[in-house]
C-alpha cells in the first residue's frame, strides 16, 4: 500500500504549457457548438433530423401530417360550419346549474369566486403562474365568455365570472407579494392558505346550501359534478388513511376487515355501487339520493386511495419506523409525525390520478340514478324537440368541459409534485 506514489496536491501539479496563439481554439460540448451556429441553420437541421431523416421517416411525417391535417380540417369544418351550437347556448343555465333556483344564483358565483381565490392563493404560496398558466386561464376564460356572449344576454354572468377570475389573481397577487425570506411569516402564510384549502369544501357547501330555499336536491348540472367530485376525493382520502393503516395493522381483526372492505369495493364497478345507492342504501341510511350518491362516491374512492397509501407505506424505508421507535415515539406519534406525512407525499401522483378518475366518473350518476349532472342535462337538452339532431354537438361540449378541468387538475398536480419534491429526495 505504501508503495503507491503520493497523489500530488493540486498546487504541486505541473502547470499545462502556456497556450500559444495558435492553440487558443476552445472545444465546446456538442450542444454549445450547435448553439453557436446561425438560427436558420439550426432550424433546418432540426427539421431534417426530426421530420425528414430518411425516406421512411419522410413518408411517416407525410402520413402523420395527412392525419393531423384531416383532423384539424374536420374539426374546423364541424365547429364553424357543420355544428349547430344553439343546443348549448340555448341551454346554458340548464347545463350549468339545471334546477338550481335562479334567484339563489349568487351562491354559485360566491362559491366560484372563493374557490378561484383559493386556487390563486395556493399558486402564490407554493408555486407561481407561468406563461402557460396565464395562457390556459386566457383560453378558458375566452371560451366561457364566448359561450356567454352567444345567443342572448348573459352580461351579468359574464361580469360575475370575470370578477371570479379577478379574485383568483387577487389571491395570487397577495400571496406572491408576501416576502418569502422570513421563515416565520412564510410558515404562517402556508398554514393559513393550507387551512383555508382544508375547510374550503365545507365552506362552499355552507355557502351553497345553508339558509334560503335551496337544498341538496337543487344541486344539478355541472354544479353537481363540481360538488360530487371534491366530496368523493376528500371523503376518499379521509376514509383511505385509516383503511390503509388498518390493512397494514398487526391486529388481525382490523387488517382482515379492512382488506375485505378494500377488495369488495374494488371488485364491483362504480355503477354497481350507485345501484346500491339507489336500491339498497335507502333502507340503511336513507336521506336524499344526492347524499347517498356522495356517500357511495366517498366509500368507493376510499378503497382506491387506501391502496395507494398502502403502497406508499410499504415503499417507506424500514429505517423510518425504527428511527421513530428509537427516539421513543408512541405508535400514534410515529404514524402522525413520521410515517403519514412521508406516505402521503409519495402517494400524491397516484392519488391525483384517482382524483381525475373520480372527476370523470361523476358522469356515471346519470346512468342509473335519476340525478342529472352535466351529461344528464345534455341528454335533457337534446331531448328537446328542436335539438334532437344535435346529439354530437352536446356530447362534444360535455367532453370539452370535462377535459378542461381534468387537464387543469393534471397540471396542478405536476406543480404540487414539484413543490413537494416527490421523486427527488
Amino acid at each position: 500500500m505504501s508503495e503507491q506514489p503520493p497523489i500530488p496536491r493540486p498546487e504541486q501539479r505541473p502547470l499545462p504549457p502556456a497556450p500559444g496563439a495558435d492553440q487558443r481554439r476552445i472545444v465546446l460540448p456538442p450542444h454549445r457548438e450547435r448553439a453557436r451556429r446561425p438560427r436558420s441553420v439550426r432550424v433546418r437541421e432540426w427539421v431534417r433530423k426530426n421530420l425528414f431523416p430518411s425516406t421512411g421517416g419522410t413518408l411517416l411525417t407525410l402520413i402523420a401530417a395527412g392525419i393531423m391535417g384531416a383532423i384539424v380540417v374536420g374539426i374546423v369544418i364541424f365547429v364553424f360550419f357543420g355544428a349547430n351550437w344553439e343546443v348549448i347556448t340555448h341551454n346554458r343555465w340548464l347545463l350549468f346549474a339545471g334546477g338550481f333556483p335562479h334567484e339563489e344564483a349568487w351562491r354559485l358565483w360566491v362559491s366560484i369566486a372563493v374557490v378561484f381565490a383559493l386556487i390563486g392563493a395556493a399558486y402564490g404560496t407554493w408555486s407561481s403562474f407561468g406563461r402557460r398558466d396565464h395562457l390556459f386561464v386566457l383560453l378558458v376564460g375566452g371560451f366561457v365568455i364566448f359561450l356567454m356572449a352567444h345567443g342572448g344576454a348573459a352580461i351579468w354572468s359574464t361580469v360575475y365570472f370575470l370578477i371570479a377570475i379577478g379574485c383568483m389573481y387577487l389571491g395570487y397577487a397577495v400571496t406572491i407579494w408576501m416576502p418569502r425570506e422570513t421563515s416565520t411569516l412564510r410558515t404562517f402564510q402556508q398554514r393559513v392558505v393550507g387551512g383555508l384549502l382544508a375547510v374550503s369544501l365545507p365552506l362552499v357547501l355552507i355557502i351553497l346550501l345553508v339558509g334560503g330555499e335551496v337544498g341538496p336536491r337543487h344541486l344539478d348540472g355541472f354544479v353537481l359534478n363540481l360538488i360530487l367530485a371534491p366530496v368523493g376525493i376528500v371523503g376518499g382520502i379521509v376514509l383511505g388513511i385509516p383503511l390503509a393503516l388498518g390493512r397494514a395493522s398487526r391486529l388481525r381483526s382490523i387488517s382482515l376487515t379492512c382488506t375485505a372492505y378494500i377488495e369488495i369495493v374494488r371488485g364491483a364497478p362504480l355503477l354497481g355501487w350507485l345501484f346500491v345507492a339507489l336500491f339498497i342504501l335507502d333502507d340503511v341510511i336513507g336521506g336524499d339520493l344526492i347524499i347517498r350518491a356522495m356517500v357511495v362516491m366517498a366509500v368507493f374512492t376510499g378503497a382506491y386511495m387506501a391502496e395507494y397509501i398502502r403502497g406508499a407505506l410499504q415503499a417507506l424505508p424500514r429505517g423510518q419506523y425504527e428511527a421513530a421507535q428509537a427516539v421513543g415515539l408512541t405508535e400514534l406519534q410515529r404514524t402522525r409525525l413520521i410515517i403519514m406525512p412521508q406516505a402521503l407525499r409519495i402517494s400524491i401522483p397516484p392519488m391525483v390520478g384517482q382524483a381525475i378518475s373520480i372527476w370523470k366518473d361523476t358522469t356515471l350518476v346519470t346512468v342509473i340514478l335519476p340525478l342529472r349532472e352535466l351529461k344528464g342535462n345534455a341528454d335533457s337538452a337534446i331531448a328537446q324537440f328542436e335539438f334532437t339532431p344535435d346529439r354530437i354537438e352536446a356530447y362534444v361540449f360535455v367532453a370539452v368541459i370535462f377535459w378542461i378541468v381534468a387537464f387543469a387538475m393534471s397540471r396542478i398536480s405536476q406543480r404540487v409534485e414539484r413543490a413537494q419534491g416527490v421523486g427527488e429526495r
Binding site: 426530426n50 421530420l51 411517416l60 364491483a268 340503511v284 351529461k375 346529439r391 356530447y395 387537464f407
Partner: protein, 407 residues
Amino acid sequence: MSAQAPAPPSPSAGGPPPSDGVPLFYRRGFRRLLQQGLYVAVTGLVFWYVYDALNLREFGFGFLDEPAAFKVGNQWLTDIDGVTENRITMYLVGVWSSLRVVFVAILLSTLVGVLVGVSRLSSNWLVARLAMLYVEIFRNTPLLVQVVLVYAIFLVGAPIIQEVVNIGDFAFISNRGLAIPWPVPSDGLWGVPDWFVGVWVALLLAIGTVAMTIRRSRQNRERETGQPQFANRWAFGIFAVGALVTFIVLGLPVSIDRPYIEGTRYLEGMVIRPEFAALTIGLTLYTGAFNAEIVRGSIQALPTGQTEAANAIGLSGYQRLTLVILPQALRQMIPSITNQYLNVNKNSSLAYAVLYDDLFRVAGIIQNKAGHALEMFFVIIVTYMLISLVISAVMNFINARVTRVGV
C-alpha cells in the same frame, strides 16, 4: 430489499418485552386485546345495524328460476328467447355479451396502447405530437361521454337502412350496424351434418399442435447446427396444407354467408351493432390512452444502453423495437396493464348507457321486474370478481412466462 445487514432485533420481532412490574393497563398484550375488542364491538354494531336495516327475511335466489319475460338483444351465437327461458339463463346471456366486449376491447386497446406508446417516443416530431395529442384528449375525458359520443356519431352519421351503404353486396353499413360475411356450417358436397364443423376444428387443433412441435424441433436444430431451418415457413405450410386437405376430405363443412337486407332488417352474415361498436370503440380508445402511457413509461424505464447497444450491433429501428426494447419493457408493463384490463372489465358496465344488454343491464332489468336488489347486486359483484380473477390468472401466467425467459 436492501442488503442483508444483520438487523438489530426490533421489539416487535424479538418477543414481548419484559412485562413484570408494568401495570396491566400498559401491557402490550392487554392493550391489543382491548383495541381488538373495542374494534370488533364497533364493527359488530355497524354490521348488526346494517343487517337489521336490510330486512333479510326475504333473502333468497329462487326468483332467478322464474320465467324472464323480457328480450335480450345483441346476442351472438345464441338466440335465446327470454319469454320462455328463466332469468338466470338470460343473465348468463348478458354475461356472454359482456365477455365479448371485454375480450375485444382488451385486444384492441393493447394494440392501440403499444402503437401509440411507441409513437410517443418516436424520433419523428410530428408522430410523437400526434400520439401525445391522442393520449391527452382521451385520458382526460369521461369514458361515458366517449361511448355515447361514438354511439351518437353512429346514429346521426350513418345512413338509415333504406339508404344503406352497400359495399359490393359484401358488407353493409347503416345505423343498424355493420353487416359482414361470416362463416357458417353448410351442407357442403353431400349434405354434411353440422357437427362436422366440430370435427374440423378439432382436427385443426391437432394439426396446429403438430406444426408447433415441428417448429420447435426445427428451431432447436437451427440453434445447434447454425444452418437455417425455416421453422416458421415449415410450420405455416404444414398447417395450411393440413387445414385445406381436411376441409376437402370432410366435404367443405363451412361456407361463408353473405349478409343481405330484407325490409328493414339485416339477415345472415354477422352484424356488428352500433351499441356493441360504440361500447367497444369507447373502451378501446379510453383504455388505449392509458396503455400507451404504461408502454411509454416501461420503455423509458429501460436503461438507454439497451437502445445504444442495439444500434451498435446494427439492428434496424424495427428490429431494435421488436427484439430488444419491447420484450424487456413487457416485464415492466404487465402488472400495470393487468390493472387496466381489470378496469376494462368493470367499465364494460357502461353498456347500460347505450342499452347494450351486458350482464349489468340484464341484472338491472331483472331487478326492475322482480325486485331483490340485494341478491342481484350480490350476483353482479360475484360475476365481476370471477371475471377479474380469470383475467388476473391469465395475466399472471403470461407474467410468469415472460419473466422466466433468461436474458
